[in-house]
Symmetry: C2
Subunit: 91 residues, 2 copies
């Protein structure tokens, strides 16, 4: 079992209205030290695979094809052994 | 200048319809090895502060008050020196 932790963020220079809204909220709440906020996605994909190289190849492809929009987003990921496997279901 | 990298995820056991939709999509695309997907948020908050302890206290509070819903979400964060400061603006 392998766990891919995937971080999808907007490319530098792409306007981030969600980040601006969060920054506005934080400043309105009194956090004056905040100078910029960027908002991205974080995904955990659990793979029933042992071959790290093949898993990496597939995760890379998933990012390009579905999880990120390569025009405006960049992505990075790590592959690790999950501490405890999880499911999408309620326990 | 400090950069807080914040990861907000659903607590274990909380149903994740977005994760299920992504898993359905990945399986439909032929990625048979995928056994579970969880979707969360990733935020980068840049702070014009030097005191790491005070920054950590503020980030913790931001998470509790605005960035995460403590009823269904959990969060973790790291604080580091940014490689290159960023803005919300287009260059």
């Amino acid at each position: 079992m392998l766990l891919a932790k995937i971080y999808v963020t907007l490319k530098p220079g792409v306007l981030d209205p969600q980040g601006e809204a969060v920054m506005g909220g934080l400043k309105a709440m009194g956090y004056e030290g905040v100078t910029a906020v960027r908002v991205g996605k974080y995904l955990e994909v659990q793979l029933d695979m042992k071959d790290r190289q093949e898993a990496g190849r597939q995760v890379e492809e998933m990012c390009r094809r579905l999880l990120a929009n390569p025009v405006i987003e960049q992505y990075r990921y790590t592959l690790e052994e999950p501490a405890a496997p999880f499911t999408n279901e309620t326990p």
